[in-house]
């Protein structure tokens, strides 16, 4: 029978099908971090059960770590306590642990692929909804709750009903200044923040085939923001090239055997999806959000839609604009901004720093902007330095911080103050997400860079010289 990519990977991981119930689903790779794992370990102890396959779980500290002076003791006692719990639990159960200061430390969804833990055809979970990132490699990857973290630790399985299947095709060529982040925000604006609830998405078409692995990770990362369980892209030569030779990637004969399997990981021609959407690359421009969920986004040159023109409840819509202190019909370009955040599991990879630098090179940070530039991992930091991007940033008046989730969810000190407006390359513009009372505009690294040098929301295309 014809199968989709998703079917092939899902079906090969079902240990048991329960009638009128979920599938018992085997997990190849499990990431844990300091915030959503401690209670799972408490549960293991209370039930007096152990960890079945410690070699399949990988711990890294990222969510509440400081991004400044990481060599000093963590000042917040509660954060320090969680970091210590992670380290102790990992040591007790024989789980590899990349704590603060470790060479491989960084945001979980960035260090996983960097170290070849993320592989095509694998099933990957983590107590973090942006685990969907790893779908870029043709893996089934999604976020789970802490009870499920405990399940994976104790039996390497979770119990989930198989989601429905959606395919999103984007064909054509992206315009200049349009990045993978814009493609994702565009799709989410069409789907709304709940449009893909109950589905697992496959992204297909020219735009994703042309995209780098970093770009594909950005797109898959944001799948959850339209309610999807996850998103995935069929592996191709780019995927294999990316993973080859990394720390945990199969080597020698194992690699050859794996490649034979990985090359079968694509949707059969006549396989069927429950629902399918087609978008045209030419319709996508640099995007920006204006409300309090990622579905409230639009082309940066557009103005905020009228409440009567949007689907759903007008009271919710007006509440959202009220929080943002925006009015229906407002233009976004030209709005005064206070903070710019480059980083997160969405846009904290080397390509994002290259994009940011392409705009700020030879320019200066605007005086009214506080900029937080937070690489996703130490490896990203190394590459930034290797390519001399740090010099460009320094000359333009920017400071590079140390790796972590940082202002994406503001569990550490990187909090946008109440009422302040931030252009952020992260994934959520929820009320208070970047600090109580903070107001967030989600955008690409190019929009963030253009805004950082101009001090107001700026279309990056006005700062890019067309050389073609």
């Amino acid at each position: 029978m014809s199968k989709t990519l998703f079917d092939k990977v899902w079906d090969s991981h079902v240990v048991r099908k329960i009638e009128d119930g979920p599938d018992v689903f085997f997990i190849d790779r499990h990431f844990i971090h300091e915030v959503t794992s401690p209670v799972a370990f408490v549960g293991l102890k209370q039930r007096d059960i152990g960890v079945m396959y410690p070699e399949r779980t990988f711990a890294t500290a990222d969510h509440n770590t400081p991004t400044w002076n990481q060599h000093l003791p963590v000042a917040d006692p509660l954060s320090a306590n969680q970091l210590e719990a992670l380290a102790n639990n990992a040591a007790e159960y024989g789980i590899s642990h990349w704590g603060l200061g470790h060479r491989n430390n960084g945001i979980v969804h960035i260090v996983g692929p960097e170290n070849g833990i993320t592989l095509p055809g694998a099933t990957i979970v983590c107590g973090d909804s942006h685990t969907s990132t790893h779908g870029a490699f043709g893996a089934i990857a999604f976020g789970i709750g802490t009870s499920e973290v405990e399940m994976v630790l104790s039996t390497q399985c979770i119990m989930q009903p198989k989601p429905k299947k959606m395919r999103i095709n984007v064909n054509g060529k992206l315009g200049f200044g349009v990045t993978p982040k814009d493609v994702a925000l565009y799709i989410i604006s069409k789907q709304t923040t709940s449009g893909a609830t109950g589905y697992f998405v496959e992204y297909a078409g020219d735009v994703f085939e042309d995209m780098t692995m970093e770009g594909r990770m950005t797109v898959c990362n944001l799948s959850i923001e339209m309610g999807a369980r996850g998103g995935m892209i069929a592996p191709d030569e780019k995927t294999f090239e990316y993973i080859k030779g990394r720390k945990h990637t199969p080597k020698g004969a194992d690699w050859d055997k794996a490649m034979d399997y990985w090359k079968t990981l694509k949707t059969d021609d006549d396989a069927e999806f429950d629902v399918e959407f087609n978008y045209d690359a030419a319709d996508i421009e640099p995007m920006i959000t204006y409300g309090t969920n990622p579905g409230m986004g639009m082309g940066i040159t557009k103005s905020i839609p009228k409440a009567d023109d949007v689907e759903g409840g007008t009271s919710t819509y007006k509440k959202s604009l009220g929080y943002m202190k925006f009015d229906e019909g407002d233009d976004m370009i030209g709005k005064q901004v206070d903070y710019v955040f480059l980083g997160s599991c969405t846009n904290g990879r080397i390509e994002d720093f290259r994009a940011f630098c392409s705009i700020v090179e030879g320019r200066k940070k605007a005086d009214n902007i506080t900029a937080w530039l937070v690489p996703g991992s130490h490896k990203v930091v190394d590459q930034i330095k290797e390519e001399g991007l740090d010099k460009i940033l320094e000359a333009a008046g920017f400071v590079l911080r140390e790796p972590g989730c940082s202002a994406c969810l503001a569990m550490n000190d990187d909090k946008v103050p109440a009422g302040k407006l931030a252009v952020s390359t992260s994934n959520r513009n929820f009320e208070g997400r970047q600090g109580p009372g903070s107001r967030t505009l989600l955008a690409s690294p190019l929009v963030a860079a253009a805004t950082a040098v101009e001090g107001v929301v700026t279309d990056p295309r006005t700062l890019i010289e067309v050389t073609a």
Binding site: Q156, S194, T197, F430, E431
Partner: protein, 199 residues
């Protein structure tokens, strides 16, 4: 973490007719720093229940005395979107609620609720509106959630709608079991399966 069995619940309800309520509102990230599961009820909807000085916002439904003691929350469409933090479901339970009713739930939140003993009940948009209207007319409106029968009923009028839940999860809720209990008995089968995995 075991939870109390769920069979039939009759209670008044807190109305929260706002769409796309995300888990950052249900429990803001700065309250996720515990290493044990306790105290999450205090910070349930923290930033909607209290102003920036920490004073309760009296007319927010969860603070409003006329709904006090309710065991049910009725939320707008797409309730629980966003992060996978189970802390959101814990905070629902720890606040004293056993059931959330909405016309649509985000997937991860829904799954987390079922794993911690909170019953997510999905009803039609029309029926959800009917519940909101009834509560607005009378804050003491009682709602009966009958898990064995899979129905939710407005007690005063008898208007009722059925809801879906798979037989396995229903059995868990009725008995206070969880998936971890189930999986413990499968270790041998999992071990055999794991042998077949290439990586």
């Amino acid at each position: 973490m075991a939870y109390d069995k769920f069979e039939v619940l009759t209670s008044t309800a807190y109305p929260l007719p706002i769409e796309n309520v995300d888990t950052d509102q249900i429990i803001p990230a700065r309250f996720l720093k515990a290493t044990e599961r306790k105290g999450f009820g205090d910070n349930f909807f923290r930033d909607w229940r209290y102003d920036s000085e920490g004073n309760p916002i009296a007319d927010f439904p969860l603070n409003d005395n006329k709904y006090a003691g309710s065991k049910i929350l009725i939320g707008g469409k797409n309730f629980g979107s966003g992060s996978s933090r189970e802390h959101a479901a814990w905070s629902v339970y720890d606040f004293g609620l056993r059931c959330v009713i909405s016309s649509a739930f985000a997937d991860i939140f829904k799954g987390n609720c079922l794993n911690v003993g909170v019953l997510p009940v999905q009803v039609s948009a029309d029926f959800a509106q009917k519940l909101f209207d009834a509560i607005e007319a009378d804050s003491k409106t009682e709602i009966k959630v009958d898990l064995p029968a899979q129905t939710v009923t407005l007690v005063a009028t008898g208007e009722s709608e059925s809801f879906d839940i798979n037989g396995y999860k229903k059995g868990n809720m009725l008995n206070g079991f969880d998936d971890i209990d189930y999986l413990q008995n499968m270790k041998e089968e999992v071990g055999t399966f794991a042998e077949t995995r290439p990586f």
